[in-house]
Symmetry: C4
Subunit: 403 residues, 4 copies
């Protein structure tokens, strides 16, 4: 049995790396034996993750304190939203961590069906490679985005320092620029910078990683639907015994149960990820109407992060909706079953496929299918046009003055 | 037979309390025998309710008179709308009162099916406790809201009195502030205040109680769908005789008939409640853009009432849509019926479940399902963005001058 | 056989009256024998209708000429739209007149099925009385609207005459006010007034009559669906022979064919009527934001025509969607057919009812069901909110100056 | 076998002409033998098309260079969009050219089924004549549009020359007006004009031709659905053997497979064509609010191109959605199959028709059915109303000053 093709093995490396960012602190996540995966309150990973989470909470408290003194403006409210979203994502991953072992065990049991003789198409889909490529691409793009934003900060804080003749060192000016909410509470020390940068990264990481995680789950499920589709396609137009269709339908039902289990497990992540992506894109598009600034690095960072968000969201929808695409293909195959082999069993299968929707759904609020791209686009354009009224006035680009 | 688990018993206390506010004046509502519930034109409750309704009408007349003299402004039109909605709610509860005994008798007959041997899961759902908890929470929150609004009035009327040096007593200034439409018609007397406050409460009460009432009905129906679902889940993957499915389907049809009966009985309440909630949330969100005032108590009252309205509406949708959720679960269970037991009876049941929509619906205009939350949110955001154009100008918070 | 209960007899009076307004010039429309109904190019009705249509065209030409000299303004474009809509309605009624005899003959053949023994419920629905009541109510309200608009014109033209000291007689001033496009082309004569008023009425009449006509057709079809529903309801929960269901389904198919025939015949009228009603309501609601004028008669005429349009549109949707409501009831009845009587025939009937939509549809663009009211309301509110931006400025009501 | 009635023959002339504009460079496209159609990298057509595509790319480079020097304005961004759309259309036609021979061979194989004995209704539909009429009408209208735009350019460039006393010849002024992006790079020569005009036409041609191409495919597919519908209609209400329905369903499945193949082949063209048409109509409607200019020729060119775009888009939807219309008719016919002949085969056919959607779909994003017209109209009106806010100010038409 090809170990690389079970989901918990295929995704183990990705999750192991994400544990470095304090997400999903489950013990033995790289174990070969699925039964060793467990959540242990006293494991070092949990302690590490809890520490990071507490640090994040502290920083959030500092931000709250800062906002209440400065007042709620457009800028502070957007950074508040960022903190809230990331803390919620941390929370939802904790919630997932508690159930991860039982989810993986259930998934593993379902996968046993698809790793036995009649299914031999795992090589074709190559789940593990797909997961690694997608996560690698998205997370390295996210790294580039993060570096651009940092460079942006370095540049702007330096500009402020030199233009306003503030008598602080280069590094201190960065500290002040990046963390105005901590500057008054926590006096500057050189050794604070790497620590805070690390905390910052554990806050920034989940924003892109949540999408990646959904894509991994999409790929893991699609691999099985792909196998089912290939098995049915292999007997295209042949007369098969009823027992074949009974078995296929049983496996399909097992997959449906798995999809439902995962849907209820990751529903908060789906709702948060899509809501956040959509509002981020709306917000950044809205900023394009405004004065962005003429500095090259500011422009590049802005446009990179906007285009990255659009591509990442589209990719997430495409990959997670592939479950639905495979189901459509199975329906098409069933139309070609010869009349002789059209037993009540096949009819029941066909009716179920026609009536039920198989897709991740955020607990039934909306279904992640290909049409979602169109309706998200329409909604974003509509909101953009509405908001654009507000800001007809100031469109002349000018050099921002920093003091 | 556990008496507490019949709907008319479970809901009797809630309705008894609401009768104090002149709603649903049905005799013997707390009777153990469902046949004793009746509407009697000469019962004291009817006379009391009619008196209150007449007083409300009189006050509405005074408001109309006041508005026609002052002119239709933003403020007067919103208080006009409040009176109209509450009078309509009183009217619709009267309409319901006439039919209450026949509805309860029909419901009771249907409940007999679910209180006999094969169903034993009433303990699990615990209808009565759920009703009491939900109504208790919502109505006590509504009480807090009412007190906040009163405190708000006391505070503002006192401010006006002191700032403008009006030579009236503290209580008279409250009277004048709260009931400007009565101040000229009805001279001030101390003993008027409690009476008018009571009338005021019978006007304010139905606004929150209508949502509660819909939740009670949702819980009452969901209890039965829950039992049906549990009975089917108990024989999961077992081969059951056709007569079992026939009986289950008969019971399901009886429930559907009950849902239809209730849907047509409470349709005006549903349309009014959802329309009112939605316009209230839109209106209050719109006010957030405007100058609310800097007084703490005004702020607290405003935000409390907005957040309470949002939570109450969401809760109403979640609870009344649980009927639909149970139906989805039954469909899922039917997919696992073994091939041997897949008789025409089961197929017919499955097809009916797949094609018909079971949910309260406001007479077929819209269905109260979970998706309603998403579409209401989208509509509210859209309207908010549109309206926001109108009020870009005045956003500076200033202390209101009262004279 | 009750002659009053065939559609062509029930509607004959209504159509006879509308022929006076040059609509549907079909010969022998009041004939007892459906075969005598025919379109005859040389009949006096056709000649009369053609004359009126030519006069309307001439007036439209005068309007076009006037608009091109005055320029396209908000006011002239709206009166242009009115003329175009009414001319199109005349045209579509001509188109219908050519096919009226074949439609009526087809309808009569279908009706024979429902006037024989097993159906005895025509007395209950009372098609003829419903048609007469509905048309009577709507058209007399339309008459009141027309009189109000006339009184409005009389009043305003007189105001202009007296305020500006124009030296023309009272009647001539009306002529000039009402028909500015004719005033320069056609010199004033007293005997012109009644003739032009008559032409004017043949232009105004179809606007309300198209809705009435659609309601008549809705009532005529609903009467048959009502009978079918009652026949099925009469055998509720009884085991009926397969031949019963075969016959019922045959009759249902005949009704569906009739609905399709009528849908394609009146599709242009449906599209025009709904489009016109919706844009008229949008336009008038938009005017409420603007300066309407403080004259009582102007106010009354304005609000009456707005409220009348809303009620008329809602009524049209309610009545024409009753076909769909009866179908829903038939589906519900079929759910209660006992298991023993659940033959393939009933199942086929049930599936067809579940999958196909039975409603007038404007050639498949949208279906006239109850939900249409909700979606029209939402669209109107949305458009209204958008337009309202344009006119925040001028809301002070002022006395219009006429010269 | 009527050669004119196979799709590859019927469409050959149209494609041959379009090859002159460097689209779809497939060899032997007018060949009688479908197997001779092939894509050959060394054929003169490919070399010609590649040359034209390179020239287009060069011109696009010049435009990019020009825009970057002038700055992104409303006008330059719209002409950028035009170039991008047309280059993409060229690209998508290249992509189609690679697969054209295999698509045509598959189509030809499917067509063999419909050119044999039981189907004899090809004369009725007359695919070739329809294609020629539709393409002739649309492309000649497009030619008129192109000439109007050219005349417009001649007129405006001449106005500029005379008003501003620029000392250049008439032709050079046209060159400068039409191609400001080339004027600085490429000095004026007389012989450049026809060459550039030809390049210009190869850029303008695909904009209208893509719609035509989709209509051709729609007609080609509809011809077959028409035949299938006629074959089923011919046995209306007759009892047919099961083998008849099996054969009909096989043919229907073959058609479905063809529709899917074409849908995936032309999906990018569909998405691009509808997106482009919709944004063009929105953009031009938006321009109607603005100052268009008072010159007659400018007005005529503007309105002609707007109305042409609306009609062309509507026509495209109507024709490509006719596949769906025929399917609806087949469903209706199946309802009338007598009870005796209602075999599982017919039921399966009926269920498939009821559940699956047969229409071109742009890869599943949206379905091209009749309802699309309504939803496009609503979206366009909504966007228009939103945009209209932006431009309430400047509505006075004024003579444009050119220097």
């Amino acid at each position: 049995m090809p170990q690389g093709e079970t989901f918990y093995r295929a995704v183990s490396q990705v999750l192991f790396i994400s544990q470095a960012y304090a997400l999903l602190p489950v013990s033995n996540i790289r174990s070969v034996d699925v039964n060793k995966i467990r959540f242990n309150w006293r494991s070092p990973r949990v302690i590490y993750s809890a520490t990071i989470f507490l640090l994040n909470l502290c920083e959030f408290g500092a931000v709250l304190n800062y906002v209440s003194s400065v007042g709620v403006t457009f800028h502070t409210s957007s950074s508040l939203a960022l903190y809230i979203v990331c803390l919620l994502e941390h929370l939802f991953f904790w919630r997932l961590a508690f159930n991860w072992h039982s989810i993986m065990r259930h998934w593993h049991r379902v996968e046993q069906l698809f790793l036995s003789v009649p299914y031999r198409f795992y090589g074709e889909y190559n789940m593990k490679r797909r997961i690694n490529i997608v996560v690698g691409l998205v997370m390295s793009s996210a790294l580039v985005e993060h570096c651009l934003l940092l460079a942006n900060s370095f540049h702007l804080s330096n500009l402020e320092r030199t233009q306003c003749n503030i008598n602080v060192s280069y590094l201190e000016s960065i500290y002040k620029w990046e963390r105005p909410h901590l500057y008054k509470v926590l006096p500057y020390h050189v050794w604070l910078l790497p620590l805070l940068e690390w905390v910052n990264e554990t806050i920034a990481y989940p924003r892109s990683f949540t999408d990646c995680f959904l894509m991994c789950i999409g790929i893991g499920l699609a691999a099985r639907f792909h196998q089912l589709h290939r098995r049915i396609a292999a007997v295209h137009r042949k007369v098969m015994p009823a027992v074949f269709w009974t078995e296929v339908r049983q496996h399909y039902l097992a997959l449906k149960r798995l999809v439902r289990l995962l849907d209820s497990a990751v529903a908060p992540l789906i709702l948060l990820a899509f809501g956040n992506n959509m509002s981020f894109i709306c917000f950044q598009l809205f900023n394009t109407f405004k004065n962005i600034g003429v500095d090259l690095i500011v422009m590049v960072a802005f446009w990179y992060s906007l285009i990255f968000a659009i591509i990442r969201t589209t990719l997430t929808i495409f990959i997670t909706s592939s479950i639905n695409d495979f189901e459509q293909k199975i329906i098409t195959d069933l139309r070609d079953v010869p009349s002789k082999a059209w037993t009540p069993e096949v009819q029941r299968f066909s009716e179920q496929l026609g009536n039920d929707m198989t897709a991740l759904s955020g607990n039934g609020f909306f279904y992640v299918t290909r049409q979602l791209i169109l309706s998200m686009t329409t909604t974003i354009i509509t909101y953009e046009l509405m908001i654009s009224d507000v800001i007809n006035q100031a469109t002349i680009r000018q050099k921002t003055v920093y003091c």
